[in-house]
């Protein structure tokens, strides 16, 4: 460093010396001294620039200049607080929405699960080769116990395999004892499960080999949060007994909280997975019930593992054709599985594109402000160039100012992103998955890097054009140009007009997109549910314990609970069903009497419910023909069925379904036809259609059986109340507990809430799109206002001349407006044309969304954009028209 300083001083001296010598020589040649000096200087060249170039030879120069640039930039930003505020705010909004959405992307798509070597941890699935077009789910089916055991025995690609009973509702465990029974998400896992995942217990131990054998399996592992909430983080919890689904288990370990930091693992309690003899029978190959994990051997690739497993599966298919024909295997990393299962990649890609647009609009705003400001600074640049600053140096100065803006914008953007996340955490509440996801949403390291990268990229983006303009400019022109020229050169405005037109086009596209999503959402909201969701409280009861193994006991329990409820004055009616409307129900295969029965796989399907007497009355689903089930339609009477109109239309087109007979086969059951005796059910009623999900395009066929004939331990209660339904929740719990105090009552929600929850985030999509489009439009308006105000400011003198020559205020106003009309129309026109393709794009991207272009969107959005743009033009234009010619002519 000191050597450099020394050299630089030497350089100064050297140059002085050089010029003196040259001057001396010139004098000796006979020039007058003064002329001799100037001639020497001319011959030497630009001293400042040469010093700079020489200094640049000694590295670190750029760092020093950068520091200079930053200090200078900060000073410039401080002297222009209005400009700085608008620019930083625009950028912060643009970057903030990007960081917010990217936080979700990071949580769902980027972050790896908290297990050892996540890339080597695979999930193994059965793949239904026969089911064409039934989507991802067919390739991600759970695995049957016999298949799992065969895979584990035959594999060479995996060092180890573990299984967990898959994450379904019936795997919640009921913890008895304490103040009230509680249902917690739980899993039954093979003994090597935790070792395979590479997660060690925080307390105690995990399962030992052999504890997944019958007789040794009464041990349980808790997750830390359950340990804290239910056992007060008692370190002596080990060895205590807890009743899980009525059976006693000894607590042997506590798993750390970090284990929950991935939404795919919702369990709070684990017990060993023990296969019953019937689960291992050949017929059980069709019972897909396990999530299977495998650890790849070192050096084995995913593709090798997949093809090996496929070979094993094919071998099994050959030796078990009746159950395994058409079934292959599939291998995914845990992360890939999580991504596919979340089914959100499309929505996230879409949102990322949208926030990308918002950022582009923000950048265009800042670029425009910079161009305007740089024009005002033209003389400053010309002077600096004349003093020896190279074009590159000037451009770099501008770029570092931009970088400063971007860093400020990015920092504030992160604050905005935190707000955005706060909103999203509240909005992600429509199912267990989304709630777990909401807990994980945070600004993590990925998001910070992303924000930094996006900020830097935007600085380049909005800084490039203005900087380029400066570096190309001839400094002489800048010095000579007088601010008194009557009109302003056109060349800079082309860039600015282009930027504003682009902003308008993008805003319009975003607005149309938002309009489509909002329209879609409104349509869903106005959809006729086919039932009356108001004043209806729902709850879930899953009977556990040895008492309820017998279906007759389940049926008896349901009748007792309904009688209890009927005795409460607030209750208008009460009923039980296996599933609620607007929650995806189970399905059954249907055969019609008198028609040939196709093969199992080809058999038609229908949604399936088992409902108690009074169900249709309580839900207020209209009865179109026949009658409801009654108490006498029970296990002793002949099998009966009720169907909805969509069912009737599909299976009995132009026929009367009443009195016809159908066979209803439940999943996992072999069709009784193959045994020779068919159990026909008579159709005794037809009811109105009720959708199974919000936004469903066409009503789906549904079939109902009497709950008393087909009881199920997992039942949904529906209670129609005279009063506010949610206030009835405690009475509902008491009524159930008066029948059995060990049965937890969970998922207590009003039917309205069920309805809302089944929107599956459509409301968020509409809200986010609306918010982003709103931000975009406001920013575009600011951009237009800024540009016109700036142009008007530059033309004050010209306006003064015109008015002095007799132009009226109106003419001036029109002149200014006319000037901006073209860019306005071009922007809106391009935006309009592009947005015509949006509905098709959205429909193609989202399988379950069907969008059409509504006329109101087509008409209203361009109109809105034009109005906003005109208003933004009008304000500064009116100011121009108010110019006093005397003042304007004197204006310098």
């Amino acid at each position: 460093m000191s050597r450099r300083k020394h050299l630089m001083e030497a350089l100064d001296q050297d140059i002085r010396d050089h010029i003196e010598r040259e001057t001396q020589e010139n004098i000796e040649r006979g020039m007058p001294p003064e002329e001799a000096h100037y001639a020497a200087l001319r011959k030497f060249g630009n001293v400042t620039r040469i010093k700079e170039e020489t200094r640049e030879v000694w590295s670190f120069m750029w760092l020093e200049q950068l520091w200079q640039d930053i200090r200078f930039g900060l000073r410039m930003l401080a002297t222009n607080p209005g400009f700085t505020a608008v620019a930083v705010l625009s950028l912060a909004l643009g970057i903030g929405v990007n960081s917010t959405i990217f936080s979700v992307v990071s949580t769902v798509l980027v972050r790896k699960p908290p297990v050892k070597d996540p890339d080597g941890l695979m999930m193994l699935f059965s793949r239904n080769v026969g089911a064409a077009g039934s989507g991802d789910y067919a390739s991600r089916s759970p695995v049957s116990p016999p298949d799992f055991l065969d895979w584990r025995a035959q594999t060479t690609a995996f060092s180890e395999m573990a299984a967990a009973s898959s994450f379904e509702d019936d795997l919640h465990a009921t913890l008895a004892g304490g103040s009230q029974p509680e249902r917690v998400p739980s899993g039954a896992v093979t003994a090597n499960y935790f070792q395979l995942l590479g997660v060690s217990p925080a307390l105690g131990r995990d399962f030992l080999p052999g504890e997944d054998q019958a007789g040794h399996d009464r041990v349980a592992v808790l997750r830390a949060d359950l340990w804290k909430s239910r056992f007060g983080a008692d370190p002596h919890v080990l060895g205590q007994t807890v009743r899980v689904n009525g059976e006693p288990y000894t607590i042997i370990g506590v798993m750390p909280d970090t284990f929950r930091s991935f939404w795919m693992f919702p369990e709070q309690l684990w017990i060993p997975l023990v296969f019953t003899p019937e689960q291992l029978s050949p017929a059980a190959r069709a019972q897909h019930s396990l999530s299977v994990f495998g650890r790849l051997k070192p050096g084995v690739s995913e593709a090798q593992a997949r093809s090996e497993l496929e070979t094993i599966a094919r071998r099994i298919a050959v030796s078990n054709p009746e159950t395994r024909k058409d079934w292959g295997a599939n291998v995914l990393t845990v992360q890939q599985y999580a991504i596919q299962e979340s089914n959100s990649s499309t929505a996230l890609a879409f949102l990322m594109a949208v926030v990308g647009f918002v950022l582009v609009i923000a950048c265009a705003n800042v670029a425009n402000l910079l161009v305007a400001r740089n024009t005002a600074r033209r003389r400053e640049f010309a002077v600096r160039a004349a003093l020896g600053a190279g074009g590159f140096r000037l451009a770099r100065q501008l770029l570092s100012e931009c970088l400063l803006l971007a860093i400020l914008g990015g920092g504030l953007g992160l604050v905005f992103a935190e707000w955005g996340l706060h909103f999203l955490r509240g909005a992600f509440n429509w199912n267990e998955w989304s709630i777990l996801l909401a807990e994980q949403l945070s600004i993590d390291r990925n998001v910070l890097w992303f924000t930094l990268a996006v900020s830097a990229a935007s600085a380049m983006f909005f800084g490039f054009a203005p900087a380029f303009q400066i570096s190309r400019r001839d400094p002489n022109a800048g010095l000579k140009e007088s601010s008194r020229s009557a009109t302003v050169g056109r060349e800079h405005h082309r860039l600015q007009n282009f930027l504003v037109a682009a902003q308008l086009a993008l805003s319009l596209i975003l607005l149309v997109g938002a309009g489509l999503f909002v329209e879609n959402f409104i349509e869903e909201m106005q959809e006729k549910p086919g039932m009356n969701p108001h004043h209806l409280l729902t709850a879930s009861v899953s009977l556990t314990g040895a008492n309820y193994k017998d279906p007759a006991r389940q049926a008896a329990f349901s009748q007792t609970v309904l009688r209890q409820l009927a005795g409460i004055p607030e209750v208008q009616s009460a009923a039980i069903s296996t599933d609620l409307p607007y929650t995806f129900p189970g399905s059954a295969r249907i055969a019609v009497e008198g028609r040939p029965v196709p093969k199992t796989e080809k058999q038609a399907q229908s949604a399936y419910f088992a409902v108690s007497p009074g169900y249709f009355g309580a839900a207020q689903i209209p009865l179109r023909a026949g009658r409801e089930f009654t108490l006498t339609d029970n296990a002793q009477s002949a099998p009966l069925a009720i169907v909805n109109e969509a069912f009737a239309k599909k299976f009995f087109p132009n026929e009367n379904p009443m009195g016809r007979h159908i066979e209803i086969t439940h999943p996992g059951e072999a069709a009784s036809g193959s045994m020779g005796t068919i159990k026909w059910s008579e159709i005794i009623g037809v009811v109105g259609n009720v959708n199974e999900s919000v936004g469903q395009m066409a009503p789906q066929p549904q079939v109902f059986e009497p709950f008393l004939q087909h009881p199920d331990p997992a039942m949904m209660l529906l209670v129609r109340t005279h009063t506010e339904p949610t206030a009835f929740a405690p009475s509902l719990r008491r009524a159930v507990w008066s029948v059995d105090k060990d049965q937890p009552v969970t998922s207590i929600r009003s039917m309205d809430r069920v309805f809302h929850d089944s929107e599956q985030g459509d409301d968020i999509m509409a809200e986010l799109m609306g918010a982003f489009a709103g931000i975009a439009l406001v920013m575009a308006a600011v951009g237009i206002y800024g540009l016109i105000a700036y142009l008007v400011g530059r033309r004050v003198h010209e306006v003064g001349v015109r008015m002095a020559l007799g132009a009226s205020k109106r003419q001036v106003l029109l002149m200014v407006l006319r000037g901006s009309m073209r860019m306005l129309l071009v922007g809106v026109g391009i935006g309009f044309l592009v947005s015509l393709g949006l509905p098709r794009l959205i429909t193609a991207a989202f399988q379950d969304v069907h969008m059409t272009y509504r006329n109101w969107i087509l008409a209203a959005t361009p109109l809105a954009v034009i109005l906003v743009a005109l208003a933004s033009c009008y304000l500064p234009a009116r100011r121009a028209a108010k110019v006093d010619p005397n003042v304007a002519l004197r204006y310098e």
């Binding site: 050089h18 011959k43 030497f44 620039r49 040469i50 000694w58």
Partner: protein, 120 residues
């Protein structure tokens, strides 16, 4: 200097200035102005060196360790910065000179047949 003069002068190729400086310093240590003059004189005013551009080049060579700089006194007892070729600079000069000869030879070979074609 007149415009005609200017037109007849040649701009230096990138890097050749370095070579010329090294060659000039081979004759002995000297100061910046003298280097500029020497290049001008020895090229019979054909090569145009903007005198100032000498200095970044000098510092480039110092940085590479091919020349060094020290205080000294010139004619008339004036203090000045003297540039001196280092041992490494001397070796580099040999390398650069042979490179230059090769380049010049190659270009000459490419250009000369054209002249012959012109006069059959």
């Amino acid at each position: 200097m007149s415009t005609k003069e200017q037109r007849e002068r040649l701009e230096l190729l990138q890097g050749t200035l370095d070579l010329l400086i090294l060659r000039t310093l081979r004759l002995g240590p000297t100061h910046g102005h003298a280097i500029a003059k020497a290049i001008e004189l020895r090229s019979e005013d054909v090569l145009q060196v903007e005198q100032g551009s000498l200095y970044p080049a000098l510092h480039r060579l110092i940085k590479r360790g091919w020349i060094s700089v020290q205080d000294g006194t010139s004619e008339h007892n004036r203090r000045a910065k003297f540039y001196r070729l280092t041992a490494r600079g001397r070796r580099q000069l040999a390398v650069e000179t042979s490179k230059w000869d090769k380049l010049a030879g190659a270009i000459a070979r490419i250009l000369s047949p054209v002249e012959q074609e012109g006069q059959p």
